[in-house]
C-alpha cells in the first residue's frame, strides 16, 4: 500500500504544483473591435469631410473616439449633441446598434421585422445611408429625440447621431439631412495603427475581475451610476486622450485614494465610526444630458423625487473655484440602502466636458466632510 500512497501523494503534488506556471503559445485571429468601447478605425481610415449646417458649432471631443463632434443650441437652453464615429466591420449589424440607440432614449428593443419598418434609406453622394428617428425620454423623463444614420463601407461603418431636446432635434431634420448629403470621403494613406492606449478603465472595486467593465460603480443592473451621457457610444475612460487637458486637484490628507476605474478619474474614501463615504470624480463629453437630469439622477439615488426645471435655481448653490471655474453645488439628504444618507455633488463644465464631483455616505460623516469637500473643489485647477 505504501508505494501507492507515495505515488498518489507525488502525483497530487506534481499536478498541484505545475498549474498555471507554464508559458503558453497560440495563434488566434485578430480581435474584432467592439462596437461600443473599441478604438475607432484609424489605420487607413478615409478622411471624411462635410459642411456644417448653420447653428452647429464644433465642440471638443475629449474621448478621442469621435470623428466629428458638434453642439446644436436652441432657445431656452435646449441643446443637442451630434457625433460622428467609425468602427471596423459592421459592428454587429443593424439590430443591435438600433436597439442600443433605443435604449439610450428609454425605448424597449425591437425585432428584425419592426426594424425594417422603421429604417429609411437616404441616397447621398457618399452612399446609401440608413436613417432612423427615435423619440423617447431621458432619465429625468424629459422628452428627447434622436436622429441616427449609419453608412456601411466595405471595411467599416460610420455612425451619425444627433441626440438632444425633443423640439430642438425635431427642428433639425433638414440640417441633419443636409449634413449627411455633404459628407464625402477621400482615402488617405494608411496611418500607423493606434498604439499605446489610454489608461483604462477598471476598478478593483468591481466584482472579481471586471477588468474591462466599462462601468465602475458596481455591476448590478441599472444602478444609475453613470450620468446620462449625450453619446454613450463615445464614453471611454475620460483620461483617454489629451491628459494635459485634464483638471488637477489636491485631495485633503485624510481622504484615502482609491483605484480609478473606467468612469472615475478621481476616487477617494473617507471613514469614521459611522461608516465610509465615497468621493468620485467622473467626466463626460459635452453636456452629459444637462444639469437637471443629472441632479435628478442623483436625487433618485437617495430616493428623492425629481425636481422641476423651475426648482433648480433654489436647490443649488454656485461656487467659484480657482482660475474662474464655476461649480454648481447641491446638498441632498435622503435614504440609501435603508439608512439615512447624504450626498454633496458638484457639476463643472470645462473644456467641452462635464465633470461630476460627488461625496456620498452616512449623513453624519458627509456633514462633517462638507467643508473639506468645498475646500477640495477650490483646489481643482485647469491645466
Amino acid at each position: 500500500m505504501r508505494p501507492r500512497l507515495l505515488l498518489l501523494c507525488a502525483a497530487a503534488a506534481l499536478l498541484a504544483s505545475c498549474r498555471d506556471e507554464r508559458i503558453s503559445t497560440y495563434r488566434v485571429p485578430k480581435d474584432a473591435p467592439s462596437p461600443v468601447v473599441s478604438a475607432p478605425a484609424t489605420a487607413g481610415t478615409p478622411d471624411i469631410t462635410w459642411s456644417l449646417p448653420t447653428g452647429w458649432t464644433t465642440q471638443p471631443d475629449p474621448s478621442g473616439m469621435r470623428k466629428g463632434s458638434f453642439l446644436v443650441s436652441g432657445a431656452d437652453g435646449a441643446k443637442a449633441d451630434m457625433s460622428v464615429t467609425a468602427f471596423p466591420g459592421d459592428v454587429g449589424g443593424d439590430l443591435p446598434n438600433v436597439n442600443r440607440w433605443r435604449g439610450q432614449v428609454g425605448l424597449t428593443p425591437i425585432d428584425d421585422a419592426a426594424l425594417s419598418q422603421t429604417v429609411q434609406t437616404i441616397d447621398a453622394p457618399a452612399g446609401k445611408f440608413s436613417f432612423i428617428e427615435l423619440s423617447g425620454a431621458s432619465g429625468a423623463k424629459k422628452p428627447v429625440r434622436m436622429l441616427g444614420a449609419w453608412l456601411q463601407q466595405p471595411d467599416r461603418r460610420w455612425f451619425f447621431k444627433l441626440l438632444g431636446d425633443d423640439a430642438l432635434v425635431a427642428a433639425q431634420h433638414d440640417a441633419f439631412f443636409a449634413f449627411l448629403k455633404s459628407v464625402s470621403f477621400t482615402t488617405a494613406p494608411a496611418a500607423a495603427p493606434a498604439v499605446a492606449g489610454p489608461v483604462k478603465a477598471q476598478s478593483t472595486n468591481d466584482l472579481p475581475k471586471a477588468p474591462f467593465a466599462p462601468f465602475a460603480n458596481g455591476a448590478t443592473p441599472d444602478t444609475g451610476a453613470a450620468p446620462a451621457p449625450a453619446d454613450s457610444s463615445a464614453t471611454p475612460a475620460p483620461t483617454d486622450s489629451a491628459p494635459q487637458a485634464s483638471l488637477t486637484w489636491t485631495a485633503p490628507a485624510h481622504w484615502q485614494a482609491k483605484p480609478l476605474s473606467t468612469m472615475r478619474i478621481g476616487s477617494f474614501a473617507v471613514s469614521n465610526d459611522a461608516g465610509t463615504a465615497d468621493i468620485s470624480i467622473i467626466a463626460f463629453p459635452g453636456e452629459a444630458g444637462g444639469l437637471l437630469p443629472n441632479i435628478n439622477r442623483w436625487r433618485g439615488q437617495l430616493g428623492l423625487a425629481p425636481l422641476a426645471e423651475g426648482d433648480l435655481a433654489g436647490a443649488t448653490t454656485a461656487l467659484d473655484g480657482a482660475g474662474g471655474l464655476h461649480f454648481t453645488v447641491i446638498d441632498l439628504s435622503g435614504q440609501a440602502a435603508g439608512a439615512p444618507a447624504q450626498m454633496l455633488g458638484a457639476i463643472l463644465s470645462f473644456g467641452g466636458q462635464t465633470y461630476f464631483f460627488k461625496l456620498t455616505g452616512p449623513d453624519a460623516l458627509v456633514a462633517r466632510e462638507k467643508s473639506a469637500f468645498l475646500d477640495f473643489l477650490k483646489t481643482v485647477k485647469a491645466p
Partner: protein, 385 residues
C-alpha cells in the same frame, strides 16, 4: 514480506484511521473558514484544500501546520479502498454496502479531479461584441504578441507568476529575453498629471513614461481583484530595446517594431481561447411588474462554430449553456450600458458527483431493502406459527 506489510495494512484498513481523518476534515473546514478573514475564499482554497500540507509563514519561515485537503482526502480514499479490499467479502447480501462505498470513493475522487481540473473564467461583452475567449477571474498574464500577420496574432502568454520571479524569461518564439525590473502584485496606475509628486517612471518606452505607479497591499477580498504592474526590459542580442510598463490598467497593447516584426505587449487577464466565437445579440433584464425587483436576466448569443455551423442560444438565470466542454452561466448584467457577463466553468468531472450520489442512494436502498424484506418475512413466519 507479508509480515512486513501487515502493520501497514492494519493501519490503513482501521476504522480508527477513518474516524481520525473525518475529525481532521471537520477541523480543516473549520480552520479554513476562520482563515477566510485573512485570505478570502480563493486564497484559502489553495492554502488549505488544494495542497498536501498547510504551510503557515512564521516570521518568513514556512512551517507546516496542518494536513491539507489533498492529504486528508487521499488518505480517506486509501482507507476506504483498503478496507474494501481486505475487510469486505463480496456477497449479494452485502451488495448494497459495496455500492454505497463505491459511490463514496467516486465522490472523493471527483472532488480531487475537480480541484485539479476545474477552471472558472468569464466572458464579458457589449451588445454586438464577438469574443472567442474567456478571461480568468484572478490570474493575469503578460501577452507578447507578434502582430505582423494581418489576420492572425501569434501570442506568447507568460503567467504573471513568472514575472514575479527574479529570473530572465526566454522563449524560443521570442527574439528577445524579458527581464523584470519592477513588479507589484497589486497597484494603482495614474496619469502623471494626477500624481505630480510621483517618483520618476522606470519605464523608458511608450505610455509608461506618462504613468505613475503606486503599489497597493495584496487584496484577498472576494469582490476585489489585484491589479499587478510590472516594468519589463526587453533585451535582444544587440542590447536593450527599452523598458515598458505593463499593467491591466493599460487597456490597449503597446506596440513596437523589432527584427522586421510588429510586436505588442499587454498585461491582461489570462485568456482561454475556444475554437468557436460568440456574439452577444441581445440582453434582457425583466423585472416583476410594477417594481424594480429583478425577475430574470438573459443574454441571447450566437455561437459561430466552423465545425458545427452557427447557432443562437438564450442563456438565462438557472439555465446555463453547455457547449464545447464549458458551461456558460448568466453572471452579471448592466443593461443601461448594453453589457453582459457570463461565467464560464470548465469541469470535465461535473457528472461524477451525480453518479456517486446515485450509487450511494442505490446502495442504501438495496441494503435497507434487503433488511426490510428479511424482517417482514421473519415476522410473517412468526405470525403464521
Amino acid at each position: 514480506m507479508r509480515e512486513l506489510l501487515q502493520p501497514f495494512v492494519r493501519f490503513f484498513v482501521s476504522l480508527r484511521l477513518t474516524v481520525v481523518l473525518l475529525v481532521l476534515s471537520i477541523l480543516l473546514v473549520f480552520l479554513a473558514t476562520l482563515d477566510q478573514v485573512h485570505l478570502g475564499v480563493w486564497g484559502i482554497q489553495h492554502k488549505w484544500f488544494f495542497t498536501l500540507i498547510v504551510v503557515e509563514s512564521v516570521n518568513g519561515f514556512p512551517l507546516p501546520v496542518f494536513p491539507g485537503g489533498y492529504f486528508i482526502g487521499g488518505m480517506l480514499l486509501i482507507n476506504l479502498v483498503a478496507a474494501h479490499v481486505y475487510r469486505f467479502k463480496f456477497s449479494w447480501k452485502k451488495s448494497g454496502i459495496w455500492l454505497a462505498h463505491l459511490g463514496l470513493i467516486l465522490l472523493i475522487a471527483s472532488q480531487f479531479f475537480t480541484g485539479l481540473q476545474q477552471r472558472e473564467s468569464q466572458v464579458q461583452f457589449n451588445l454586438g461584441d464577438t469574443k472567442r475567449y474567456s478571461e480568468d477571474f484572478l490570474l493575469d498574464e503578460l501577452a507578447v504578441i507578434d502582430a505582423t500577420d494581418p489576420k492572425f496574432d501569434d501570442v506568447v502568454a507568460i503567467p504573471e507568476t513568472l514575472l514575479a520571479r527574479d529570473e530572465p524569461i526566454q522563449h524560443p518564439k521570442l527574439p528577445f529575453r524579458i527581464v523584470t525590473r519592477l513588479y507589484y502584485p497589486n497597484s494603482v496606475v495614474q496619469m502623471r498629471s494626477q500624481a505630480p509628486n510621483a517618483p520618476p517612471s522606470p519605464a523608458t518606452m511608450d505610455i509608461g513614461l506618462q504613468l505613475a505607479v503606486t503599489p497597493q497591499a495584496i487584496t484577498y477580498k472576494q469582490d476585489e481583484r489585484n491589479m499587478p504592474t510590472a516594468c519589463v526590459e526587453l533585451i535582444g542580442p544587440e542590447g536593450s530595446l527599452g523598458i515598458w510598463l505593463v499593467s491591466p490598467w493599460i487597456e490597449q497593447p503597446q506596440a513596437f517594431d523589432y527584427a522586421g516584426h510588429t510586436w505588442q505587449l499587454a498585461m491582461r487577464s489570462k485568456r482561454y481561447y475556444t475554437p468557436y466565437a460568440m456574439t452577444l445579440l441581445q440582453l434582457k433584464n425583466d423585472v416583476y411588474p410594477g417594481t424594480d425587483i429583478p425577475k430574470n436576466f438573459s443574454s441571447q448569443v450566437r455561437i459561430h462554430d466552423e465545425a458545427k455551423g452557427d447557432r443562437d442560444v438564450l442563456i438565462y438565470m438557472n439555465n446555463p449553456l453547455r457547449y464545447g466542454g464549458l458551461t456558460y452561466y448568466q453572471y452579471q448584467m448592466n443593461k443601461a450600458n448594453g453589457l453582459s457577463v457570463l461565467q464560464v466553468v470548465r469541469n470535465p468531472s461535473w457528472l461524477m458527483p451525480y453518479i456517486a450520489c446515485a450509487l450511494v442512494a442505490l446502495g442504501l436502498v438495496i441494503q435497507f431493502g434487503t433488511h426490510l424484506v428479511g424482517f417482514i418475512r421473519k415476522r410473517s413466519v412468526v405470525a403464521a406459527k
